[in-house]
């Protein structure tokens, strides 16, 4: 699947709406194994994204991705800022060579992992980005793939981020960043369906 500016805008709008709707839930998840701000952080971020996109009216995909990255980096305030920000920035960079979504997400996930040093199974958003990217490569990304990836974080012991301080006590809780990343990719499926 190729990503177009139009498709990207409906994707990011869908995601923004979802984050704002689920703000309290995301922060509640974060209060179990973190500092309880993930929903507020991301909501602040996507609100800034919306403002930027409306104000700047980017004319191509690369510009839109870059604006998204900048807004997230400067407004989120928590780990999710540099992480999501780096992911979108890598997509922006790659989008000048290819608009193949699987390629964009491969670059994004690599950037995410470089930024946060998390591996598969560390109970972070990476545990959603990795299988989603793999599924996209095989052109079989479905809601089930996403749900399974998000749910997979529940039994894990956190090895990165604030939750890692809890060691074993992080077991039995969903990772908030994995849940918000799940929303991101569900939004992608919705945007695809709209085509």
């Amino acid at each position: 699947m190729k990503l177009t500016l139009e498709k990207y805008l409906s994707w990011i709008n869908e995601f923004s709406q979802k984050v704002i709707d689920k703000k309290d839930y995301l922060s509640d998840l974060d209060s179990k194994i973190g500092d309880g701000d993930h929903g507020n952080n991301l909501a602040r971020g996507v609100t800034a994204v919306q403002q930027m996109l409306t104000a700047k009216q980017p004319q191509d995909l690369t510009a839109a991705l870059k604006l998204t990255a900048m807004a997230l980096i400067s407004k989120v305030g928590g780990a999710a800022g540099p992480l999501y920000g780096t992911a979108f920035l890598e997509m922006a960079k790659t989008s000048s060579q290819t608009t193949e979504l699987a390629e964009l997400l491969t670059a994004a996930t690599a950037g995410l992992q470089k930024r946060g040093q998390a591996k598969a199974g560390d109970k972070t958003m990476v545990d959603v980005w990795l299988p989603v990217t793999a599924a996209l490569k095989n052109a079989d990304l479905t809601s089930t793939v996403i749900e399974k990836a998000v749910a997979s974080t529940k039994p894990l012991v956190a090895k990165r981020g604030r939750a890692s301080y809890l060691g074993e006590r992080s077991i039995g809780h969903l990772d908030p960043g994995a849940v918000s990343s799940g929303y991101l990719f569900e939004a992608l499926l919705v945007a695809e369906d709209e085509k």
Binding site: D37, S74, G77, G78, T86, R115, R162
Partner: protein, 125 residues
Amino acid sequence: MKYGILIVSHVPEIAAGVPRLIQQVAKDVAITSAGGTDENEIGTSLEKIQQAVEQNAGSEILAFYDLGSARMNLEMAAELATKKLRIYDVALIEGAYVAASLLQAQVGLPAIEKQLAPLKIKNQE
């Protein structure tokens, strides 16, 4: 001046307090800090970090932080900065204290890093 010290904390008060502690033993060392989000909530702000890097009189920056997400923002700042940033995964207060007092005593970077090594308590794989 070659080296400056940068303190990055999630909390504005910590970012204000650590420089007070270490400037006392390092009168001549450039020390700047960034703490909290743009709204002074708990978190970090890339913009505040970038300002603290620019305002620092040092041409090369030894950076200390409290929690991992501060490190990530520091890395982004490092990638965007013209100055070289060295990020240390050591205890924030204690590491910055050691670096500041040794810089004041004109100790060279290799010896400083040697003394910082046992204070490394972060980002271990």
